[in-house]
């Protein structure tokens, strides 16, 4: 961070607009990925991967949420979803929906959360 030149601070805006990274597309098979869906890298990454895509595969070596991937890459969630959709289409990541999506979690899990919060 300290090596960032002063004239390239956040106020100057990104050098490459986020949507240029995904060739101007705003839609992909990743559109509906839940923010807390878990992403894991699978398979061997090809050599010609873009730097952002390569970074996603690096941070997803251990299971990580979609929101966490966006934070790690410091890119808007929409842009990250497009990239994740592409990577999934190419069989480079697997995505599992959050266990709780659409339905409420079970009693045992909630009790565990309550105890866990108390112990914080």
């Amino acid at each position: 961070m300290s090596e960032t030149p002063r004239w390239l601070d956040e106020d100057a805006g990104p050098v490459v607009r986020p949507y240029a990274l995904i060739r101007g597309r705003t839609r992909s098979s990743g559109d509906n990925l839940d923010l807390i869906a878990t992403v894991s890298a699978v398979g061997e990454p090809p050599a010609d991967l873009g730097p952002e895509q390569a970074l996603i595969l690096r941070v997803a070596r251990h299971p990580i949420s979609v929101a966490d991937v966006a934070v790690e890459l410091d890119l808007p969630v929409g842009v990250v979803r497009v990239m994740l959709g592409d990577l999934r289409d190419h069989g480079l990541i697997s995505v599992s929906a959050p266990a709780a999506a659409g339905s409420r979690p079970n009693e045992g899990i909630l009790k565990e959360v309550i105890n866990g919060l108390r112990a914080l």
Partner: protein, 190 residues
């Protein structure tokens, strides 16, 4: 379909809502590691006159930062917190966030109580379990809690509590109250 492995982590979502400057960011930061999550807002008619669009007619989205926090209960069980902007123009984000959410905390400031009306309405309509946490600005007391319950016309079952979002212990108590409330709601629903 993605195969669901038994060791798949369980992830839960809790929303932190309330008016501008009411303490959402502080609450998330008190109890978890907090990071800014960038998301996009579609510029609607509401933005006209606020956002100067001259010369950038092609620009239809702008970036909004959400507060994003993570509490690891144990390996494979994580609670994610999302602090969402309270204004109606951000409701497109809420629809996504509230889907499958464990519940929500609505932070209230007794000096600007109307600011949390939209949040309360929203969660009541969605059937999302929520608690109202009255942030202790300006010496709010138990009397304030009763006033808030009446002013917001809350169901008896909805917990209303005082809190000081800067204090970790208080933030913890709010979260525990919410999860207990969600658990009761779940049990009652059978």
């Amino acid at each position: 379909m993605d195969s669901v492995l038994s060791e798949d982590p369980v992830a839960l979502k809790i929303l932190i809502a309330g008016g501008f400057g009411v303490g959402k960011t502080t609450l998330v930061g008190s109890i978890s590691e907090i990071k800014p999550l960038r998301t996009e807002e579609v510029l609607s008619d509401r933005g006209i006159g606020v956002d100067d669009l001259d010369g950038v007619e092609a620009k239809t989205t702008t970036t909004v930062a959400m507060d994003f926090g993570r509490i690891t209960i144990r390996e494979g069980l994580v609670v994610y917190l999302f602090g969402t902007p309270g204004q109606e123009r951000f409701w497109f984000m809420w629809d996504e966030l509230s889907y499958g959410a464990l519940g929500a905390v609505v932070i209230a400031d007794t000096r600007r109580l109307t600011d949390c009306f939209p949040s309360v309405d929203y969660f009541e309509q969605r059937g999302t379990p929520f608690v109202v946490a009255v942030n202790c600005f300006d010496g709010a007391d138990q009397h304030s809690v009763d006033d808030v319950r009446i002013a917001l016309d809350l169901d008896d079952g909805v917990p209303v509590m005082l809190c000081d979002v800067r204090r970790r212990a208080s933030a913890k108590e709010v979260m525990i109250t919410l999860v207990e409330h969600s658990l009761r709601t779940l049990t009652a629903a059978g």
